[in-house]
Symmetry: D2
C-alpha cells in the first residue's frame, strides 16, 4: 500500500496520526497518509514566514519558469495523477483526466499572470495641493495565505489557491480534504523540484484544532476557502483581521427559452446535472423550460439520463459512479423522499445503492423543498415548466444563493434581461451554469461566496496596493 | 452686417482677403470674415510652437477648469450660437441646437479625460537581462497639430479636434470650411477667456496655399482631417513624417431583420436618412429590409418621409431644408437621374428646387450605381429587400467604405454575426449607423478613414509614450 | 439657536432624543439636533432598499448631473458651511474651508467616475472547452451601504462614503459623529434637491443600539467605517456576510534624509504635525532626521512650532485651536507625562489648558512609549536623529500601523528602498504622510485599515462583477 | 554548400535568381539562396489573403500552442541557429546565441499576448441620446502585413514583425535583408510544422521591384519596416492607405552624472558602444560625462575598450568582429577622418583593416560632425565632458533623432528631469540606451521612427477596433 507523507516547509514528513485513504467505489483502504496537528502547522507557518522575503524577491523569470515547469509535469503525468485522483474521490476517470489538464492550465496561466501584476499611473494635480506631483501604484504580496480545499475537485480547487499565491509571491499552507489529500501531495513532490524557496507551499491534512488555527491565527494575512456555505460564513466571522475569499456552493438554475437550440440544451444539461454525480459547486440543479418546448425537452432529457453509464470510476466508459461517501448518499435520498412526500414527482431515478445514488429528475417541486432551496450536491435535478422567460428569471432568483446561471436562448432581449436581472456571479448563455474555464472570474454573490477566483482575480486579491507620491 | 475676425495666437485679426458668408437658405450674404494666407499661417505656427512648453507644463486643474469653462459657456449661449450655425450652414435649428449641446459635451469630456491621461507599469525581469529593473510609461503631448474641419458639423467636428488637442497639451491650428467659419470663431472668443496660453488654438479659414502647408509643413506633428475620402487619402501621402487621422465618409448601410421592431426601425431610419439632408458622414444611405417585412416597412417609411416638413432652417418646425449649395444639389440630382436611367425606381422624392433636394427613396438599384457605391451626401436613401439576414451583411459589405452600420434585430446570433462580419468601425444594434455619442470610439476602416476619434481615443493618438526604465 | 433635523429617506425629521451640539472652543451649546434609534433606522433601511432598483436604473447623465450639482452647491456655499464645520469641530476656519473645497472635489470626481465604471472583455477559448465563447464582465451596485464617519473631518470623510455610493448606484445610510453632525446635515439638504430617488441617502446620528445594527444587520451589503482601530477591527468580526472597509489611524512616520531640502521638510512637517491639532489619521507623529542635519532641522522646526498662532477657530489667523473635547486633551497630557517619566525630553510645548493642548515636540523617546506606539491623535510630535536612512526605514516600520509615510530625499536609491520596504499604504516622497488628494488610493495595511478609499477605488469595492459568457 | 529555399505560402521554393550568401568574416560564399521577383510575391500575397479568414477564426488555444511550439524549438536548436546567424552576419557567437534566445522569448510573449487581445466596455448614456445603450469594443486583425527586416538582428527583428502578426491573426510577408536571409528561413521551417494555415507567413528575399510592391500594393493593410531613416520615411510617403510602423535608427546618447556608479557606467557603456561593432539601432554613440568624474571614467573606459577581443565570430571568446561589409567599414573610416580633420581627437582606435574597424573613441567633436549628427552604425563612440547634468540633457537633445537615452545617476531630481525633458522613446536609468527587453514598448520619436514595437504594442497596432452599440 502506498504511503503519502505530508509536505511541510520543503520536507515530506510523517506524524503520530495516520490517516487511511479509501476508494469510495470499492470501499478499499488503498493508501495511507498522515494528519497534521498544531506542531506540524507551527513549523509550516514558520517556514512560510521565512519564505516571505525570498518569494517577494524572486525575479519574474524564475517564478515563471517554475510555474511552467509544474504545468508541464502535470501534463506529462496526467494519466498517473488522474488515476490517483479517481481512486481517492470516486470521480470517473474521464473527468479526473480533465481535472489534471485544468490544473496544468491553471499553473500555466498563473505563470503568465505573474508577468502582468497590476500597476497604475495617476496624475495628482487635479487640485492645487497636488501640483508638481504624480503617483505610481505597485502591488505587493499580502503575506502568508491559508488555503482550504474540498474533496470534489481535490486537485484543481487546491491549485486555484496555490498557483495564484505563488504567482503573487505569497507563501501558502493548504489543507486538503481528509478524504482526498493524495493527488495534491503528488503535486507537492513536483513543486518541490522548482526554485521556489522552501516553505513557499506546505500541504497538510489537519485535525480540527489545526484547521481552526488556519482561520484564526493572525500570522495568516488571507484565508481562502472552498467548501460549504455554513462553514465558510462562520470562518469569515472568526478570521480576525485577515482578508477572506469564500467559494461556496449554490443551487444553480438553468432557463431554457422557447428560442433555444433544444439538442444543445439537453446535452449540456446532462453534463451540468450529473457530472461527478452533481458534487460540483455549479451543478445544474434547477432547470426551467419554456412550456412550448417542455415536452420535447423532457422526453429527450430523460431518455439520455436513463442511458448514463454507471460503474467503476477507473473504467473509461463510466459516466456516473458513487458519491463521496454513504452519508452523502443517504442525505440525498432523504431529501428526495421528503420532496416526494410533499408532492414532488420522480421522472427518473430516485434509488440508492450503498453510496451510489441514481441520476434523478424531479418535477412538481416547490421552492421551499430542500432539493430546490439547498445545495443538493448529488445527482438530482429538478425540472419545471415556465410560461415565459421572465418567470424563469424569477424562479432562478428565488434562492439564497447566486453562483452562476445558465440561459439557453437566441433572443437578444432575453439575454440582456438575464444578464441585468439574474442575481449571480456569472450568466452563461447557451450553456449550463457548470461552465468554468480557469482564467475567468469565478465566484458567487448572496450566500454563494465572497470575492472571486480565476487567476488574475485571485492574484489581485492576494496583493496590497502601495502608492508612491513623488515630484515629477 | 456682422464682421468675424480670424483668430491667430490669441488675437482676432483681419487680412487682405475678405470672405463673404452666405445663408444657404436665403442666399443672403449675412456676415463677413477673412481668409488667411501664408503670412497669417506662419504667425499662427510660431505662436503654436511658443505655446508647446507652457501647455505641457499646465497643471491638470488649470486645464480642467478652462475646458469646463468653455463647456459651460457653450451651454449658456446655445441659442445664439445655434442660430449662427443654422445661418451659415442651412442646418435646421433643432439639429443646430443639438450640435451646440454636443460641442459642450465634447469639451466636458475632454476636461475629464485630461485628468486620466494613460500611464503604465511594466515588470521588466521576464528574462535575466531585466533583473532588478522596472518600467513606467507616461504619455507626452505630440506637439503642434493641424486640424481641418468640414462644413456639415461646423462646430462639433472642429471641437473634436480642438478639445482633445487642448486636453493632451498640444497647440492646434484649425482650418474651418470657408462656408462655415462663424460658429467656431464664436468659440474662439470663448476659449480666449481661459488660462490656456496664447497660441494654444488658432482658427483661420485659409486659401489653398496655406491649406496645403497645413498638410506638408514638418512643424506640425499631426494632421487630423475630416472631409471627403479623395482629399483625405491624398493628404496622407503628402503629410511627410507627421501622424495622420482621417475621418472620411461612406455609404453606410442598415439591415432590418425579420425579428426587428418595425416602428423603431422606421423612425430611426427616417432620422438617419434625412437629418440635415443626409449631409452627414454616417448618413443611413442603404437600407436592406427582410422580405417578410418589406411591405410593411416600406409603406410606413414612405408615409413618414413624405410628411417631413421642409422650410427655413431657423424655423423650429423645419425638419429638412436646403443643401449646403446648389452644386451639391445638382450633383445629387444627376446621380439620381443616372440611377433611374439604369433601372432604379423612385419611391418618393427625386425633385430639385434650387439648392433644395426632396427627401428621396430609391429601389431596384444596383451596387455599381453612384447612389449606392459612392457617398451621396444628400437626402437620398436606397431601400432594398433581402431574402435573409446574411444577404444583408453581404450587401452592406459590398462597398469600398466601412464607417458604421445599423442592424435592427432581436436575434442573438444575427447580432453576433453582424458584429463579427460587418467590415466597419461600428455596428449599431437597433439603431441607425448615424448614431454617435461624443466619447465613443468613432472612425472607419477601408476607405472611410484612418484612426479613431472620440475624446479618449483622439487624445491617445495625440500623445507619444515615453518609457522610463529604472532600478527598483 | 438653530435646529438641525436628521435626514431619513428624503425627509427631515425630529426624534424623541434631542442632541445638543457644542462649540469645543467656547464650550457653548450653539445648535440642537436629534439622535436616531432603531425605529428611525428601520425606516431609513426600508427607504434605502426601496431605492436600490431606481438607483441601479438611473442613467449615467442623471447621476452625473446630480453629483455635479452637489459639488457646485458646496463650492458656492463654502463660507457658510465652513463656519458650521468650524463651530461643531473646533477646526480652524482655514482648514475648514479647505475641507469644504475637498468635499466639492470629491463629489466632482465621483460624478466623473460614474461614467467610467469598469468593464472587461475576456477571450475564453484558451482551452478547447471555451471554443466559440467570449466573456464580458460588467459591475453592478452591491446594495445598501452602512457608513460611519468620524468627528475629525466631519464633512469630507462622510462624503468619501456617500459620493462613491451614489456614483456606484448604492443607497447609503450614514452615521456621523454625535459631536459633529451639522455640516453633513447641511449637505443632506443640498442632496435632497437632486434627482436621486428618496432613500438614496439617509443621514442620522444614532444611539448605541442603532449603531450596532448598522454593523450587524444583514440587509446592509457593505460597512464602511472611518475611526479608531479598536472599534474598527471589532466591527469586522461582527459584520456577518457583508463587505467591510476600514479606514483607521496610525502613528505615521517621516524620514528626513541627509539629501533632503531642509526648508521644505521643516515647513511640511509643521503642517503635518500640527494641522487640526494632530487630530488627523495621517498626522505626522514620528519624525526621524539624519544626524548630519539634525541640529539645523531641529532649530528651524522648533522655532516655527513656537510661532504657531493659537486661538478661536473662527479667526482666520488661527493656526491651532482646542482639541475636540477635554477628555482627549487629558489623554494626550497623560501620554506626554508618561513619556517624560520614562526618559523622554520635551523640546517645546507640553502644557494643557482645558481642552487646548500646546503644540509639543518630544525627543529621546522609546518605541514602546504610548506617544510612539499608539495613535496620539493630538498636537504631539516625536523627533529623533538617525545615523543613516535605512535606520529611518526600520524605525518607521517598528509599528503595528501602516497608513502612510513621508520621505524627504533626493537620493534615487533611497526613494526606491523606501517604496519597496516601508510597510504602509502610501509613501510620500518630499512631503509629509499627511498628504492626501481625494482621488488617490488611500488606506492602510497592518492595523491601520482594510481596503482602500479614493473615488475609483471605493466605487470598485462597492460593486460586484458579473460575468456574461456568450457565443461569439 | 547548403541551399536555402525561400518560403511562399507554406512551400519552400527556388526561383530563377540565385542569391549567394557570404560569411563577412572569411568572405567565403558558404550558402546559396534565391531572390523573389514579382511572380513569387504575387503568389505569396494570394496565399496571405487566403489565410486571412482561417487565421481570424483560429481559436486562441491553437494560436497559443503553435507560438509556444515555435518558441520551444528555437530554444532547443539555439546552438545550430546561432551559428547560422553568426556566419551570415559576422555577429560574435555570444551575441548570436543571445539573439536566438530573445527570438524564442519574443514568440513566447506573443503566445501569451494572443490570449489577452484588448477589449473595452463603455457606458454610452452620458447624454440622453445614449440612454439604454452600452458599447463593447473588440479588436480585429487588420489584414495582410508587409514586413521588412534589416541585417543587424536578422532573426529577432524579423520575429518582432512575424510573431505579433501571427498573434493578432494577420498573415505576413517578410522580406529579410539580402545578406542575412538564412536564420529566418530556418525559422520558416519550424513555423511550417504548426497549425497555422498555409500562407500565414511567407519569407522571401526580394529584388528591388518586388520590394517596392511591398510598400505600395494596397492589398497590404500595414507596412512594418526596420531600417535606415532615409528609406523608412520615403516608404511612409509611398505607402498609400496602409498603416506604417517605422523602427529607424539614431545616435543615442548617454549621460553620466556626478552621482553615478562609475564602474557600472563604464561596463555598460562598453557593451552599448561596441556590441556587434555598433551596428545596433540603439548603439550608445554619444557619451557625456560630468567633468568631476571625466578623468576616472575616461581612463577606465579606454582601458577596457583596448582590451576588447577581436576575432572570428564563431569563436566564443570573440567580443568584436568585422562589420557587415567593406562599404560600411569604409564609410565609418571616412566619417572618423572627417571628424579628425575638423578638430576631433582619437582617444583609441581609428584604424580599418578590410571590413574590420577598430573600436574607436573620439573626443573634442562638434555636434555637426557626421560621427555625432548621423547614425554611425559602427564601432565608434564620442566621449565628451559636461559641466552639469542639464548640459548633458541639452547635448543629447541636440539631435534629429530620438530613440533611447541612457542616464547614469543616483539623483532623484536628475532622473525626473531626464524623463521629462529628453526627447526620446525611452529613458534608461543606470544603463545604456542599448537596453531592450522584448516586451517593452520600443520605438523612437523625431526622425527615429513612427509607432512602437514590443509585443503587446505591435499587436495593438496590427488590429482595428470595432464598436458594438447595443441595448442593455
Amino acid at each position: 500500500m502506498k504511503e503519502y507523507k505530508i509536505f511541510i516547509g520543503g520536507r515530506f514528513e510523517t506524524t503520530q496520526e495516520p490517516l487511511k485513504i479509501h476508494n469510495p467505489y470499492s470501499g478499499k483502504h488503498f493508501a495511507s497518509c498522515y494528519l497534521a496537528g498544531k506542531d506540524e502547522l507551527e513549523r509550516a507557518i514558520n517556514a512560510g514566514i521565512q519564505a516571505e522575503q525570498p518569494m517577494k524577491d524572486m525575479p519574474v523569470f524564475k517564478k515563471f519558469e517554475s510555474l511552467v515547469y509544474i504545468s508541464n509535469r502535470l501534463k506529462k503525468e496526467r494519466e498517473r495523477l488522474a488515476s490517483v485522483l479517481a481512486m481517492e474521490s470516486g470521480k470517473p476517470i474521464r473527468y479526473a483526466l480533465g481535472e489534471i489538464d485544468r490544473a496544468a492550465q491553471t499553473f500555466l496561466v498563473a505563470a503568465e499572470e505573474c508577468k502582468r501584476l497590476p500597476g497604475e499611473y495617476l496624475s495628482l494635480d487635479w487640485t492645487p495641493p497636488g501640483a508638481g506631483k504624480e503617483g505610481w501604484v505597485k502591488f505587493f504580496p499580502i503575506g502568508l495565505v491559508a488555503g482550504i480545499a474540498p474533496f470534489n475537485f481535490p486537485m484543481n480547487l487546491a491549485v486555484h489557491k496555490i498557483a495564484p499565491a505563488m504567482a503573487a509571491g505569497n507563501p501558502i499552507i493548504l489543507k486538503p480534504s481528509r478524504s482526498t489529500p493524495l493527488s495534491v501531495l503528488e503535486l507537492a513532490a513536483i513543486m518541490n523540484e522548482t526554485d521556489f524557496p522552501e516553505g513557499s507551499v506546505s500541504i497538510l491534512p489537519m485535525d480540527r484544532d489545526a484547521g481552526n488555527q488556519l482561520v484564526e491565527d493572525p500570522r495568516f494575512k488571507m484565508l481562502t476557502f472552498t467548501g460549504s456555505p455554513e462553514v465558510g460564513w462562520k470562518m469569515k466571522r472568526e478570521a480576525g483581521k485577515k482578508k477572506v475569499i469564500l467559494e461556496l456552493g449554490g443551487n444553480a438554475g438553468v432557463i431554457v427559452s422557447e428560442s433555444a437550440a433544444i439538442d444543445l440544451a439537453v446535452d449540456r444539461c446532462l453534463v451540468g446535472g450529473f457530472a461527478y454525480s452533481g458534487q460540483v459547486c455549479i451543478h445544474a440543479q434547477r432547470i426551467y423550460v419554456h412550456e412550448k418546448i417542455w415536452e420535447v425537452f423532457t422526453e429527450q432529457f430523460l431518455h439520455k439520463v436513463r442511458q448514463l453509464k454507471a460503474g467503476d470510476p477507473l473504467d473509461p466508459a463510466t459516466e456516473v459512479s458513487v458519491m463521496i461517501d454513504r452519508e452523502n448518499a443517504e442525505r440525498v435520498d432523504a431529501w428526495v423522499r421528503e420532496a416526494v412526500n410533499d408532492g414532488a414527482r420522480i421522472l427518473t431515478g430516485g434509488k440508492k445503492k450503498e453510496s451510489f445514488y441514481e441520476p434523478t429528475v424531479l418535477t412538481q417541486t416547490q421552492s421551499s423543498m430542500k432539493v430546490c432551496a439547498l445545495e443538493v450536491f448529488g445527482p438530482v435535478v429538478i425540472l419545471e415548466p415556465i410560461s415565459d422567460f421572465d418567470s424563469g428569471i424569477d424562479a432562478v432568483n428565488t434562492s439564497r444563493y447566486g453562483l452562476q446561471a445558465g440561459v439557453f436562448t437566441n433572443d437578444l432581449s432575453e439575454m440582456n434581461r438575464a444578464f441585468e436581472i439574474l442575481e449571480v456571479g456569472g450568466v452563461i448563455v447557451n450553456d449550463v451554469p457548470t461552465f468554468r474555464v480557469d482564467h475567468m472570474p469565478y465566484g458567487g454573490i448572496r450566500d454563494s461566496g465572497f470575492g472571486r477566483e480565476g487567476l488574475k482575480y485571485t492574484i489581485r486579491e492576494m496583493m496590497e496596493p502601495k502608492l508612491l507620491v513623488k515630484n515629477k
